[in-house]
């Protein structure tokens, strides 16, 4: 029983270790980016701070969507739908920010 179990664990470890590794790597990057965004916000850079912290948030969201939500393994249709939905949001937010924050 224990031999069977250990071979089962052994197999899973050998076959699938990279996936766990990628998730943990993505988590580490997300944590570091959060640290970076807090650090950047601590420095007084004026309106550039907004651009930097929102860019970091977009990178974080991209990583979470791609790996944690497994979009990299989904078919192209989902990616196109999500791309279009996000594009409209990005367009409206960036038009708004360009009108209000920088002029």
């Amino acid at each position: 029983m224990s031999g069977e179990q250990s071979s089962f664990l052994h197999n899973t470890a050998v076959n699938h270790k990279p996936t766990y590794g990628i998730y943990i790597l993505v988590w580490l990057v997300l944590m570091m980016l959060t640290g970076a965004t807090v650090a950047v916000a601590g420095i007084n850079l004026g309106n550039i701070t907004i651009v930097i912290v929102l860019t970091i948030a977009v990178i974080q969201a991209y990583l979470a969507l791609t790996f944690f939500m497994r979009l990299e393994k989904e078919n192209a249709m989902f990616k196109i739908f999500i791309g279009i939905a996000l594009l409209f949001l990005v367009v409206s937010i960036s038009l708004l920010f360009s009108n209000y924050s920088f002029l």
């Binding site: 916000a41 974080q60 949001l89 924050s101």
Partner: protein
Amino acid sequence: MSTIAEHTIERVHQDKSSLWSGMWVFLFTELVLFGGLFLIFAVYRYSFQTEFHVAAKGLSVTFGALNTFLLITSSLTVALSFAAFRKKNKFLSISTQMFTMILAFGFLINRYVEWNINIQNGNFPGSKLLLAKGSGEIIFFNLYYLITGLHTIHLIIGIFLLEIAAGRLLKGRINAANFARLETAGLYWQWVCVIWLFLFPLFYLIS
């Protein structure tokens, strides 16, 4: 016999893609909901720049950063739980799911403590102290409670969905055919975490 097997595989596949499409359509509506609130926040932030700046100083970055760490880690544990299930490692799948619950409740406790401090400081909608301040600060705190409250409600719904998923995992009711249903719960959870990634800088860092 083979046609029945093929038919079943096709059914499972269709079931998965329809579940995923349904969940994604729902998540798009969430995007519109929170996206709209972001836009409202952005416009008022421009209109009352100094007041938003003063009001945001009343919020603690530590609470916000702690919640961000908790949610990012819970995203990881949900992803690990499903990866473990796919690899037929039931123990790891259930234990990471349980750990997700601990993180989620940590978030809720942190939210409670943070709100409690703000309320004790007199920064809550309708308080005399807040009403005596400028309209920018009133709007900031109204939006703060509205948006973080709405997000917390989403999180509580996510906890229920994941609880159900964890319960089914424990009872061994999840198999390869109905795994997609459980995955959609995870999809929702990840989305709630992604929304927080934008809420955190908006309230705690930019203003």
